[in-house]
């Protein structure tokens, strides 16, 4: 969290043009250091998911450079739940452990913990098609958390959840992050959520996505319900919302 800590990933002037001709990102810059909590905030279709996929190495930049000087275990929550339809919830959540050959007992405990965290204990044996939309997303979150990854990439993980579940998971996420000193890159379209969670918010312009403003949220952690109702919080929210409005207006102009 100290500015001197190691850079985990660094995107320089990244451009992403799809085969269809759509330019999703245009000279996009992002540096994330170990232990940071960074949010990407922007309107629908501005390239957030694209940027996150590039960060994860799932998609290649059309131009610019991407470097991972200090990459470790990655956890990824896709915007869609992306569960294996032929496996039950427990098996879906266990997947990353299975792929890294974690031993049986340990992985059973980790899965149980992760399912508890997202409130799906009762549905461990259910198949994805037997879940509600929000429950599917929670299973996907549990899967990303189960390995306690060093770099956690989350693409609007809480969008499908009600506020109460969402607040609980917000707090949980912050808890994990602080406790285990993880790095998180968080994509959201919610100003409130980004302010509550992050140390730094990258506000993006509409397509083609560029960083319009980088806003540090200087409030101390742990942040809790008191922070959510504080004047500080409201102030940050206003500042971010304004930046976002400008970013969007700039594009419209």
């Amino acid at each position: 969290m100290t500015p001197s800590s190691q850079t985990i990933v660094s995107l320089r002037n990244v451009v992403k043009t799809f085969a269809s001709g759509t330019v999703a990102l245009d000279r996009f810059n992002l540096d994330v250091r170990a232990g940071e909590f960074v949010s990407l905030l922007g309107p629908s279709g501005c390239g957030k998911s694209t940027a996150l996929r590039i960060v994860a190495g799932l998609s290649a930049a059309s131009a610019g450079t991407v470097e991972w000087p200090g990459a470790g275990k990655i956890g990824f929550v896709f915007q869609d739940p992306t569960l294996m339809p032929w496996a039950d919830v427990a098996a879906n959540v266990r997947l990353p452990l299975k792929l890294s050959h974690t031993d049986e007992a340990q992985s059973r405990a980790a899965v149980t913990r992760a399912l508890e965290r997202v409130g799906l204990t009762e549905f461990a044996q259910a198949f994805p098609r037997e879940l509600s939309g929000g429950m599917r997303m929670r299973a996907s979150i549990a899967r990303a958390l189960v390995t306690e990854p060093e770099l956690l990439l989350m693409d609007e993980p809480f969008a499908a959840l009600d506020e109460i579940t969402r607040f609980r998971l917000n707090n949980d996420l912050l808890g994990v992050w602080q406790e285990l000193r993880r790095t998180v890159i968080f994509v959201t379209h919610s100003v409130f959520e980004s302010v509550f969670l992050s140390q730094r918010i990258m506000v993006m312009t509409p397509r083609p996505g560029r960083v319009f403003a980088e806003i540090p949220i200087g409030a101390p952690y742990p942040r809790d319900e008191r922070f959510r109702t504080s004047a500080d919080y409201a102030g940050f929210c206003r500042q971010v919302a304004e930046a976002l409005g400008q970013a969007m207006a700039g594009a419209a102009a």
């Binding site: 896709f78 294996m84 032929w86």
Partner: protein, 260 residues
């Protein structure tokens, strides 16, 4: 429940109708048995020649079963190899197609030269049945959700893990459809193999019985043998369908009974 009754009752009803129509036609036009034997006669022949036909059926089913296993394993393994190593696919797919379109009857003599006879029979049965397994499994393996593939990549899954935990389960529905086609084809394959390369005489299968009966104009026995063959085919098909249903019923669209 009603559904199930339909599922069993209807085919039986249709069967009854077909048999009645068949019998009726034979009687009404007084069709001689060497043109079209009536169902009663066929059944009587089936019972009278039961032992002989049963022996032949067993021979044919053994080849069918071996051919099917080979086709299933061969088709799936080949599809996996094609999916894992593109160069293998590009190099060998044309040859797989060539195998599919080669008329067995023409190459059987060659196989008989290069392979011992039982192996030649198996090779024939295999050639006939493997392609649908290959083609369908290939489609399945190539249709995996790309986000799931990305997920596996992220977790540094080995090729083997991707294959085993992702691609194969995901390809299962298509694979099973391929196997369902191959089931019937292996029966055909066994028959063709027997005609082309099989042993004749005492220990021979249904194909030989059919050819022999046709040649000797014992048409009722020919029909009885054909009937046995059809029953075997239907049994194989429904066994494979049941297997497929069991494997897919909890998750795949094609097998789930939707809540109304």
């Amino acid at each position: 429940m009603n559904e199930r009754a339909l599922r069993i009752g209807l085919p039986i009803l249709v069967l009854a109708l077909v048999v009645l129509a068949w019998d009726g036609t034979v009687r009404a036009f007084a069709i001689p048995p060497y043109v079209l034997p009536g169902p009663g006669l066929v059944l009587a022949t089936l019972i009278a020649d039961g032992d002989l036909l049963w022996q032949s059926l067993l021979v044919t089913l053994t080849i069918t079963f071996e051919g099917f296993l080979l086709a299933a394993v061969g088709g799936i393994v080949l599809a996996i190899a094609f999916n894992q190593w593109r160069p293998v696919e590009y190099s060998l797919y044309p040859y797989a197609v060539i195998l599919q379109v080669t008329p067995i009857v023409a190459v059987a003599p060659l196989l008989l030269i290069y392979l011992p006879q039982p192996l030649a029979v198996l090779a024939c049965a295999w050639i006939v049945a493997f392609f649908p397994v290959l083609a369908n499994t290939t489609l399945g393996l190539n249709s995996v959700d790309h986000n799931l593939i990305a997920l596996f990549e992220l977790y540094n899954a080995s090729r083997w893990q991707v294959l085993w935990n992702l691609k194969l389960p995901s390809a299962l529905p298509q694979m099973l459809a391929g196997l369902r086609i191959a089931g019937g084809l292996s029966l055909i394959g066994a028959v063709v193999a027997e005609i082309a390369a099989g042993s004749a005489g005492a220990g021979s299968g249904l194909a030989y019985r059919i050819a022999e009966s046709g040649y000797r104009l014992n048409i009722p026995r020919m029909f009885a043998a054909l009937l046995l063959l059809s029953l075997a085919g239907v049994a194989i098909f429904f066994a494979l369908s049941a297997l497929s249903h069991l494997a897919l019923r909890r998750w795949h669209e094609s097998a789930i009974r939707r809540e109304s």
